[in-house]
């Protein structure tokens, strides 16, 4: 049973892997155009995205020689964290991708082509950012505390737990509601969800952009930004909190966010494949008629899917603010993080495991590209590679049909006649 599952997984991963290789190949042309060496560039790229500090070659991604006090030692790269491991930062980036991709997957699996993740994410982010300073202010105000640092330890601990939870909860509610709007329009009025989510995205992005620039603006630098969230709302990164002494996370702001993202992935997986609600949604996606025929309440399933999808996007935005950025800077809205999530979901063909792999891979590429200073290569190379991989990956149909065509031409024509003979025996179905 598992051997077959493995084979199936490999088969479905074949095309994305092929697409990745093709994408890298075409990108190497661009790299050459920039007068750099593709091989070196990619080595550096992958190292800076996935490897330990000091990584130089592809081989170093697995094992590396390090100088220690006792001479040279060969270490297993994944665990070697001196001065920080790139994966730490990559995981930080991957968090939001994973959540946005989950959001998209939940919607797609219900047969709804909603791309509203961006808008929901951004609204969730601003909600968390606002509550992140407003809520502690309120609590301190109510408790009459003017010096938060001097507040009793018990209160502080409680707030460290409660405030982020409330912020995240609020963000998820906002995201869910915003997504619900599109769902309601679709179910009751048959308004195409692709169009409504595009427009809703535009509304959200503009709204948040405005909010950052004016009402919530905290200082008057060149670039507008909101006030920083209070420390109690902050999702403390691992390297400042839990794993204070571990160097592996140094330089990275990854924290409980990634745990939440992984938990969410697990929950969603469980929801889709182990609950009746998830079942309803999956049946509604591939074969609407079948679902109706069997008595599945399609409308309810669709609305539920949109709510969950929106909540996930809201969560993504909240974690990004509470854990990484701690304020919303102008340009956050409109950076298209939600769309990136959609692309991850599509590339991962809506499999939860695939989402995790693809999200980390993309995040690593983007992260690795940032440090391509040595050849004067801009970090945008990461985005270029990703876009190309996606394009090649979605040529799947093209590859498949062409492969089939070549196969058919090679097969002897006798087969067709035999097939026809069988067809006569079974004929009786409709083919008018």
């Amino acid at each position: 049973m598992t051997a077959k599952r493995l084979r199936q997984a490999l088969e479905s991963a074949a095309i994305p892997i092929l697409a990745t290789i093709l994408g890298l190949l075409v990108s190497s042309v661009i790299v050459l155009f920039a007068r750099a060496d593709p091989m070196q560039t990619y080595e550096h790229l992958f190292c800076e995205g996935f490897g330990p500090k000091g990584c130089q070659t592809f081989g170093n991604l697995l094992f590396m020689d390090v100088k220690t006090d006792n001479g040279t030692q060969t270490v297993f790269s994944l665990f070697y964290g001196a001065q920080g491991h790139a994966l730490g930062v990559t995981l930080e980036r991957a968090t939001i991708l994973i959540l946005a991709a989950l959001s998209a997957t939940v919607a797609f699996k219900a047969g709804l082509f909603s791309i509203g993740m961006d808008g929901q994410l951004v609204l969730g982010a601003i909600t968390a950012a606002f509550l992140g300073y407003a809520l502690p202010d309120l609590i301190y105000g109510l408790a009459g505390i003017s010096q938060p640092q001097a507040a009793p330890g018990a209160l502080q601990t409680v707030m460290h737990l409660v405030v982020p939870a409330l912020c995240i909860g609020a963000a998820m509610l906002v995201g869910a509601f915003y997504s619900w709007i599109a769902g309601y329009l679709k179910v009751k009025l048959n308004v195409n969800e692709l169009i409504s989510t595009i427009v809703l995205n535009a509304i959200a992005v503009q709204l948040v952009g405005y909010l950052i620039n004016f009402p919530l603006r905290s200082d008057f630098n060149n670039i507008a930004r909101t006030r920083r969230i209070d420390d109690t709302a902050w999702l403390v990164p691992f390297n400042r909190g839990l794993f204070l002494n571990s160097e592996w996370f140094s330089g990275s702001r990854v924290g409980i966010g990634i745990i939440l993202a992984l938990l969410a992935a697990l929950v969603i997986w469980f929801f889709l494949w182990r609950t009746t609600a998830g079942y309803e949604q999956r049946m509604a996606s591939g074969s609407r008629l079948f679902a109706r025929f069997g008595g599945i309440p399609n409308e309810r399933a669709a609305l539920r899917a949109m709510l969950i999808s929106g909540a996930l996007s809201g969560l993504a935005g909240a974690i990004q603010i509470l854990g990484v950025e701690r304020r919303v800077v102008d340009g956050f809205a409109g950076a298209g993080l939600g769309f990136d999530g959609v692309l991850v979901a599509i590339l991962a063909k809506e499999s939860i495991g695939g989402i995790l792999v693809v999200a980390v891979f993309f995040a690593g590429l983007q992260q690795g590209a940032i440090n391509l200073q040595f050849a004067n290569l801009p970090r945008q190379l990461g985005g270029i590679i990703i876009a190309l991989i996606i394009l090649f990956s979605s040529m799947e149909n093209f590859f498949r049909t062409n492969l089939a065509r070549i196969q058919a031409r090679l097969r002897p024509p006798q087969r067709a006649v035999d097939a026809a003979a069988e067809g006569v025996a079974a004929a009786g179905g409709g083919a008018t």
Partner: protein
């Protein structure tokens, strides 16, 4: 008399659905005649005409137009040879005017600009010449169906069609419009043009055609003068005799009424009723078979009863519960099961595995799920039970089903539908596309259910199947029940007459027939 169209040894096999739509078909039409091409849905007549019109390429065969060989690969070729086709589903642009639709693709080239006024004038003249007056500036979406059809005909005439193919033209017309159409057809023929009429309505054939060709299962059965054949003969040729083993069964012991349909009115395409005042009853322990050529409202009737189509008038009562507006789930919970006519699209979800397919009607109940979370063991057990009980050989629990054969797929459907011991079973074309062994199995199963006390509503276009399984037979034509016969009084000829729209004195219809 010269032949306008001759098609020789046409062969067309569809790989995707594994069907031989045209099997060495020879078809010829004389110039100036009205020729009816008759057969059921799936007989291959539309495929044959699509080949003639260049929409489909034949695997083998040749075509001669006006006795000269023709190579038709695209509708443009057909149009150039003077062939025009009016499809069952109109190919008109709703927001365009009549003139724009007729002239589409034929606009005179004045630097790319179009002259609306001259087009309208040309169309007005064309319409008047053929005695089919229209208002060129009317928008197609505001027109009645009959008028839209007229536009389609004018479209073909504008392109100088000498051979006009009409695909099921009266399917969406009111009786008044049907008469008008006949007049048009006769006029065209008198004008020297050839009309090929694809239809399954045998009365029509008698009314307006000169000769008739009958197809069945991809084969051309025969061509005759309409004056030489009766409706019975045509019905026989169309429906034919198949090698189905007679089913061993005891006479029925019908009990209480399980399903009661009263005066049902259901809308079909184009605002015409598909079910017009149908009333029937099915008792426990009996099989009521609905016979009829497909396309006479059976599909809509079943959909209405099953809850997949809204009902616009009348009632459906199941086990004393009015389910006219109930949800599908409510109907199923009352005891209804449905074996659909399309197992691939409706009956099963081919993208997933056996277990998930089998559990769709009861997944929300224990033991399959508790409080919303699935319990896989009972699901697997159920799937295995079905596999064993129905001997679905190549199926395995937890595996994808899309590789299963038609027969096995139907067994999965049966297994699932019959699992809850339903009191009322709808069986819609239950043996379509199956091999002989599977057909036997399905029949045996249905009889078993009947003997166990279920009420079964069977719909089939295979007359033999109806005759061998049913205890009572109702015949549907044009959305009405033309007559109900007891099995001991039924014979093929009588049924054939009813199927073609005629009437029998000894089995009056429930609603006054036109």
């Amino acid at each position: 008399m010269p032949l306008a169209v001759e098609m020789r040894h046409i062969r067309k096999y569809f790989l995707s659905s594994n069907v031989l739509a045209c099997d060495d078909v020879n078809f010829s039409v004389r110039e100036g005649e009205i020729h009816a091409l008759v057969g059921e849905n799936g007989a291959g007549k539309t495929t044959l005409m699509n080949i003639l019109y260049g929409l489909i390429a034949p695997d083998e065969g040749e075509i001669l137009i006006h006795e000269r060989p023709a190579h038709i690969t695209h509708p443009n070729d057909a149009i150039r040879l003077g062939i025009g086709m009016v499809h069952q589903h109109f190919k008109l642009v709703p927001s365009f005017t009549i003139a724009e639709n007729i002239m589409l693709g034929m606009e005179p080239d004045e630097w790319g600009f179009i002259n609306g006024a001259s087009e309208a004038e040309a169309v007005r003249k064309l319409a008047a010449d053929f005695g089919l007056p229209v208002n060129p500036n009317a928008r197609v979406r505001d027109l009645s169906v009959g008028m839209q059809q007229r536009v389609e005909i004018l479209k073909a005439l504008q392109r100088n069609a000498r051979v006009l193919i009409l695909d099921e033209p009266t399917a969406v017309l009111t009786p008044q419009e049907v008469h008008e159409l006949y007049t048009v057809i006769r006029k065209l023929a008198a004008d020297g043009r050839t009309v090929i009429l694809i239809t399954h309505k045998l009365l029509e054939v008698k009314d307006v055609a000169d000769r008739v060709s009958v197809m069945r299962r991809g084969q051309m059965i025969g061509t005759h003068n309409v004056s030489d054949v009766s409706i019975r003969d045509m019905a026989n040729m169309m429906v034919g005799r198949e090698v189905i083993l007679q089913v061993e069964k005891q006479p029925a012991q019908p009990g209480a009424v399980v399903l009661k349909v009263e005066n049902l009115l259901v809308a079909g395409a184009g605002g015409i009723p598909a079910v017009f005042g149908v009333s029937l009853e099915v008792r426990a322990g009996e099989i009521l078979g609905i016979a009829g050529v497909s396309g006479n409202g059976q599909t809509e009737l079943i959909e209405a009863i099953a809850g997949l189509r809204p009902i616009d008038g009348g009632h459906v009562v199941l086990l004393d519960k009015d389910i006219t507006h109930a949800s599908v789930r409510a109907r199923r919970e009352t005891g209804m099961a449905h074996i659909p006519e399309d197992r691939l699209v409706m009956g099963l979800n081919l993208n997933t595995n056996l277990d998930e397919n089998v559990v769709v009607t009861h997944y929300m109940r224990p033991p399959y799920s508790r409080r919303g979370i699935f319990n896989f063991l009972p699901m697997r057990k159920l799937a295995q039970q079905i596999i064993d009980a129905f001997q679905i050989r190549s199926a395995r629990v937890g595996e994808e089903i899309k590789t299963l054969s038609g027969g096995n797929l139907q067994k999965v459907v049966l297994g699932r539908e019959l699992e809850g011991k339903p009191k009322f079973i709808i069986a819609n074309q239950p043996t379509r596309g199956l091999d002989v062994g599977s057909i036997e199995f399905v029949h045996k199963t249905l009889i078993e259910e009947r003997d166990a006390g279920a009420a079964i509503l069977l719909v089939s276009v295979e007359l033999d199947e109806i005759l061998s399984l049913s205890d009572r037979i109702a015949v549907m034509f044009g959305g009405r029940i033309m007559g109900v016969l007891d099995i001991k009084d039924a014979n093929e000829q009588d049924i054939g007459i009813l199927m073609a729209g005629g009437s029998l004195e000894h089995a009056p219809a429930k609603v006054a027939t036109p």
